[in-house]
Symmetry: C2
Subunit: 321 residues, 2 copies
Amino acid sequence: MAEPWHSCIDNELASCERLMEESLSFENAELTEMCRYVVMSGGKRLRPSFCILSYHACGGKDSAVPVSIGSAFEIVHSATLIHDDINDQGEIRRGRKTLHKQYSLTKAIVAGDCMFTVGFRLLSGVASQIVDYIAEASGAMGAGEFIQKDYEHASSVTEEDYMEIISGKTAKLFKACAMSGAYVAGGDEKDVSALGQFAYEVGLAFQIVDDVLDVTGDPGNMGKAVGTDLLEGKPTLPVIYAMQDPQYGGEIRSLFEEPEVSHEHVRRALELISKTDSIPRCFGKAKRLAEGAMSSIDRLEDSVYKTALKDLAAYVVCRDR
Amino acid sequence: MAEPWHSCIDNELASCERLMEESLSFENAELTEMCRYVVMSGGKRLRPSFCILSYHACGGKDSAVPVSIGSAFEIVHSATLIHDDINDQGEIRRGRKTLHKQYSLTKAIVAGDCMFTVGFRLLSGVASQIVDYIAEASGAMGAGEFIQKDYEHASSVTEEDYMEIISGKTAKLFKACAMSGAYVAGGDEKDVSALGQFAYEVGLAFQIVDDVLDVTGDPGNMGKAVGTDLLEGKPTLPVIYAMQDPQYGGEIRSLFEEPEVSHEHVRRALELISKTDSIPRCFGKAKRLAEGAMSSIDRLEDSVYKTALKDLAAYVVCRDR
């Protein structure tokens, strides 16, 4: 790839940045500052990208529509990140303090709520079908978090449980983004559903790679500490596969079940995981999902946007942060 | 009043109960259970009432519309209650455990987020003007919480600060409810704005009485402990007025500034407040606000709904829970 996958929508992505900043404006200056602190801190903008690319891939011509929807999805996603960081007691995100650490827990919860409202406000006036998509994704996100919580430190967690967790936590919102873009472009039902399936599978692959990077990533590059999932006892695929290892699985299971995890435990678990075949198995699974995703949009007419979607799927698997 | 203020909309309020229960339905059974635990636990349904009464007072005929909007407002309000209880470390609401105590903090934050989505979904398809109203109220609610937080245990808080806090925290959402009902009924601009002003002032009065009841209420009747605002160092009007007392003000100020409040401190503060003129002053202020509210809807045509709105304003001031 000579050019990055997003070059054909760089203008639209820049419009998203402007619209998000503009929309996150409240009478209360601190509230504005907090919301912008989270949303304007970088991030890969995958959700707007899915929406905008799907829109154009279905022949849509008016960029303003998917820019609004994509910005709304990104803002809602950012709101959930604030609340996730509170729940996970996360301290660093994207290379700086999480919102509740930088300000306070109370204000961070409230700021997250305000961001939900801003997101939905951006969606209002667009087709009500979109709100159904996002509402379905939201219920699934909640369910994903619930199951993840129930399996904390539980070595009985299976690959199927994990797939259910990341389906809700990540993939269904990706799906909603793509379907929304395709729907408002007037895409036919089969194209809308193909793009939804594409984004869903890329979402699963994305989350697997995210969880791998938590085990193998370079802290300088990641903008956060490595091993935080382990520290929190989160059931992730690298851990699940590693627990199946005939030689090291037993010790990894014991470490994962430990309710009071020390940094020494994490260091030891990371070392053991790297001795198993877990990481290559995870990448293999992510790669197969991304390939399956690509084939699900074969039915779409060829365009730079369709190519960009496929490049995006490839990027998700090979990224290092 | 022979009949309660809501008797002319009892059917619509029953429809709200059904719609809220039906809407709070997720694939994840525990998530459904949690959301219903909060929303279906009683509550006075003032927000749907403002919406439905304002709708009819402006001549609206199709009850389904304000029932949807009113239910949406009540669900969004309930979501903020979950997050408030987390922020205030509240343990009891409406006579039973708060959600995060009954389940867990993580799941309670997530359930609140899902409820926001359900609320906005109910609003989608209705006029986008409504979403603007609720978005404005939401920003104000956030700002109200922020200022309240900043003045915790701060005896420098003034009556003006307090009015700004409760304007955001409570009154602006009341205003949005009434304006939404009036707007979708096709009310003319002046009626919409008169009903907004009415609900805003009733909202201020409501919150003042709420804060008084935290000082004087009967715990059995209130469904929660008395003195919790004092325990949390929340700046409320009964405390602000009491701090102005020439004889007892000094000691009340010291108690309010105490960062680590004991139950003994609270007991002493309640005793001192009752010796000042604070409570009658608060009631006087609430009553004047309610009377001002009533006069702001004089311009509306007479109807049972207009009468019910005035009865509602009177109820807010004289209620004991």
